[in-house]
């Protein structure tokens, strides 16, 4: 049995107070807090190993290179990638998605082609396609979202007909919806389309297996999975990565450079121009160690339990005043609770909650098309992770009372 109280103690930020009251951090879908081991791993890197990588033959340069490449291997194992050189480091999921769009998309998409995404995508999986479509003239098609927050797959075959790529989130950052990725992959492949999975919200919370997903590409971001900001990545099959033109140009990604032109390095370095974020990679490695130590199945179990508890407590206490968006069954969703409270604007809800130390995000959560579909301009969102417990939920439920008090309309 995991000692979740001990887990919480591993996170130094959660010991601080705000406005004279202990902090209750419920914004992990936005960014996660970091265990001491992750923070210390980065400090130790700078204090004992720091050097540029792939360039030096001296001791610490060799160790720094090993550190970076060992984390690549660790990430590959963590997502069950067939090979380590299929993991490309980027600064975040957004850059990974842009890499995919510009490099693969730039080489493969043109007039008459189509890319399918869904209404529940994060802007990171929308805007790069808008930008590329404007340049290349392909069509962007949208899978609708039903009132209860699921993908409407009734016309999937039609949407995929003639499409070259389906790019879809594994878990909605607004609704918590878990999408049926293997089924979507099977459908995409049946139509000779590839499938890219935005797993930014999935990898941190659920054991991830890119092969079982049937994915061709997958993106993730370190800061949502207990790791530092400034690192994320793209995974894709080696043959696909090898077929793709480079993305950013510069050092590291070349084999030869002359005044006339250049040739590219092997994958994955072909896509990693410039000095990489080695310390952040080290931090990400420590984050994966931390998660593996807990066990991803145990993490998931904890979050499903807590999500259930949250849905029950909020509804019990606030009844009709609160509307929680997304799937109603905790086991079918992630620990992301987007809610609308009475007539109080989410921004005001968040402000009132902040005064009680409770951190939730209010707004469109970088998913404006989804909010339009839901018919709300904004929601408040409480999202859970390994360090949360029932007392955090209780605190959220209680402090919502003040919102009623102030804004009783």
């Amino acid at each position: 049995m995991t000692d979740w109280a001990a887990v919480k103690k591993d996170f130094p930020l959660l010991r601080r107070q705000v406005h004279g009251t202990p902090i209750v951090y419920l914004d992990s879908s936005n960014t996660s807090q970091k265990p001491q081991s992750v923070i210390d791993a980065m400090s130790a890197y700078y204090e004992t190993v720091n050097a540029n990588v792939h360039r030096g033959s001296y001791e610490i340069a060799v160790k720094a290179t090993e550190a970076l490449e060992q984390v690549r291997a660790k990430v590959a194992r963590f997502i069950n990638a067939p090979a380590t050189n299929e993991v490309v480091f980027t600064k975040n999921a957004t850059e990974a998605m842009n890499l995919l769009a510009r490099s693969w998309g730039g080489a493969n998409l043109g007039p008459g082609d189509a890319v399918v995404i869904s209404e529940m995508e994060h802007h990171a999986n929308i805007v790069p396609w808008h930008m590329l479509a404007a340049e290349k003239g392909f069509e962007l098609r949208w899978i609708s979202v039903t009132a209860d927050g699921h993908l409407d797959l009734s016309d999937l075959d039609q949407l995929l007909d003639g499409a070259k790529l389906l790019s879809i989130t594994a878990m909605s950052n607004v609704l918590g919806t878990l999408n049926p990725v293997p089924r979507l992959a099977e459908a995409a492949h049946r139509h000779d389309a590839l499938i890219a999975v935005d797993a930014s919200q999935y990898v941190p919370h659920i054991a991830t297996d890119v092969q079982a997903m049937g994915a061709d590409f997958m993106v993730f971001t370190g800061h949502k999975m207990l790791g530092p900001m400034g690192i994320g990545g793209l995974w894709a099959h080696a043959e696909i990565l090898e077929s793709m033109p480079p993305f950013l140009g510069g050092g590291e990604m070349i084999l030869q450079v002359t005044k006339e032109g250049f040739t590219t390095n092997e994958i994955p370095w072909k896509f990693e121009a410039g000095t990489p974020m080695v310390a952040e990679a080290v931090g990400l490695g420590a984050a994966i160690d931390y998660l593996e130590n807990l066990g991803m199945d145990e993490v998931r179990r904890h979050e499903v339990e807590l999500t259930g508890y949250a849905m029950r407590s909020l509804t019990e206490r606030h009844g009709d005043k609160i509307t929680i968006h997304g799937p109603s069954e905790p086991a079918e969703r992630g620990g992301v609770l987007s809610f609308v409270y009475d007539d109080v604007h989410p921004h005001d809800v968040a402000q009132v909650l902040d005064q009680a130390g409770v951190c939730v995000r209010a707004g469109h959560h970088c998913a404006k098309p989804l909010l339009r579909t839901l018919g709300v301009p904004a929601t408040s969102r409480a999202s859970l992770y390994v360090y949360n417990d029932e007392s955090d939920i209780d605190c959220l439920a209680e402090s919502l009372d003040s919102a009623s008090d102030i804004f009783s309309l």
Binding site: P346, H347, Q351, I406
Partner: protein, 163 residues
Amino acid sequence: MPGLEDLYREIILDHYRSPRNRGELDTPPAVRAEGFNPLCGDEIVVYIDVDDNSIINDVAIGGQGCSISQSSASMMSAAIKGKTVSEARKLIGAFKGLMSIHEGELDGDAAESDRDHGPEADPDIRLGDLEALKGVVKFPVRIKCATLSWNTLAQALGEASPV
């Protein structure tokens, strides 16, 4: 709730609950401008009808947003109705003066915004009820909520009566 009295003053909540000049105007003769707060998704629409003497004959506010952006828009509409364009412009300056202490810092361009906001708030300009929004500066993120309608008004004025 302790700590929030400065933000949620009674007069602000009153304007939030009963917004003044809510609606639309026909364009033309009115002009219409739209503003967004990318942070929280607030959207505001400002309509103004300016006559030949540069007087703001009518004003209407659409869109949706939080208590701060809505009450600020409501108070603004009441304050500018019947005023001249140039009086309205001065009011924008004065209101931004009230807010600018922190807006600049938040955007990380204090230097710039000082320049943008022009001369120090004119002592002749009376903000009246709007003074109630002063507490917003203690909550830097909300300054953008408070100024949203004003920036949108500036846009509308620019269209109705280019300088």
